[in-house]
């Protein structure tokens, strides 16, 4: 079920107008694709937060523009607190799209009972499916994962109509032996790094 966003058209562009817009609790967005012109839009920030919380990919635009769109790019502020801008791509719910989805682990790995540590190598994978059937995430059943073993993208449970774009030999999760806490690397007590000189390989003095 696609989220419904109440969009308004943006008449004024530029950083000042956009800043005013954000201050009023709206997020600027742009809609493009399907060979049609760009539409500069704004969306209520509360609806954007809901959209991100639900991890929705396709949205239904209502209000000034009535279209179905795919959330393509989400721009965040440097601290990752506020959404600055959204890129929306016009999409038909039956057309095939490539999107990135999260991988969810399921089950308790056998290797954990042997004292291993479960490490996620890849947290997201790219898939191809119809825009109307984008799953929230893919499930990786790690129940049989033993100590020293790993699971690849080929082990992911793919829903019907979903194909994997990420190479199937990509390691998703592995179980490794935990390293000792008191493990210390050999120390170089000289305390001075090697200085790269202009002429030769190395030198003790700065040139």
């Amino acid at each position: 079920m696609a989220e419904v966003l109440d969009v308004e058209k943006r008449e004024q562009m530029g950083s000042s107008a956009t800043r005013r817009l954000r201050r009023d609790g709206r997020v600027p967005a742009v809609l493009y694709g399907h060979g049609e012109g760009n539409e500069h839009l704004s969306i209520p920030a509360a609806q954007v937060k809901t959209l991100l919380r639900h991890r929705s990919k396709t949205v239904e635009l209502a209000g000034a523009v009535k279209e179905t769109a795919l959330v393509s790019i989400v721009q965040w502020d440097p601290l990752g607190i506020e959404v600055l801008h959204l890129d929306l791509i016009r999409v038909n719910l039956k057309e095939l799209v490539q999107v990135t989805v999260a991988v969810h682990r399921h089950g308790d790995a056998a290797g954990l009972r042997q004292g291993g540590l479960l490490i996620d190598n890849t947290h997201e994978v790219e898939i191809e499916c119809s825009a109307g059937q984008i799953p929230e995430g893919l499930v990786l059943n790690v129940t049989d994962l033993a100590l020293g073993g790993h699971m690849t993208a080929a082990d992911l449970e793919l829903p019907e109509g979903v194909s994997l774009v990420t190479p199937v030999d990509t390691v998703i999760a592995r179980i490794e032996q935990p390293k000792g806490v008191a493990e210390e690397e050999p120390t170089d007590q000289a305390g001075e790094p090697e200085v790269i000189s202009k002429g030769g390989d190395k030198s003790g003095e700065e040139g």
Binding site: P78, L79, L117, E194, V195, I196
Partner: protein, 138 residues
């Protein structure tokens, strides 16, 4: 042993200024949870090591800790009771330059509650204000 570069082009560096926020290294990449700086500052190599020990003593092999900063700036100092002049002092310590938004450490393989407690212990060692962050999924 505290972190420091193996090879450098110059032994001494200028102080520099920390302007703006981090535009790189500001998202959780390796683990599930992270600790993010909210202030600019220098984090000494010894402080990074103290934080690592504080965190690893808490997780005790249950989780994996990732250090996302590296002390690549040498900070020099002049010894006490030295007369003015005679050039720049000798390198004293190594520091990582941290901007607001930089992810300092990450943790994987632990629950959110464990990560919060672990990072609270770690945060008390750090010279900058930090906040707890989670991985942001696409």
């Amino acid at each position: 042993m505290a972190l420091m570069p193996k090879r450098v082009k110059h032994r001494k560096s200028q102080r520099g200024r920390i302007k703006g926020s981090a535009t790189r290294g500001n998202t959780v990449v390796f683990g599930d949870y992270g600790i993010q700086s909210l202030e600019p500052g220098w984090v000494k190599a010894t402080t990074i090591e103290a934080g690592r020990i504080a965190a690893q003593q808490y997780v005790r092999g249950e989780g994996k800790l990732y250090i996302r900063i590296f002390p690549d700036k040498s900070v020099s100092s002049t010894p006490l009771e030295t007369r003015m002049g005679k050039g720049k002092g000798e390198p004293d310590f190594w520091a990582a330059v941290v901007k607001p938004g930089t992810i300092l450490y990450e943790l994987g393989g632990v629950t959110e509650q464990q990560a919060k407690v672990c990072f609270a212990r770690l945060a008390s060692k750090l010279p900058v204000k930090v906040r707890f962050v989670e991985r942001r999924y696409a």
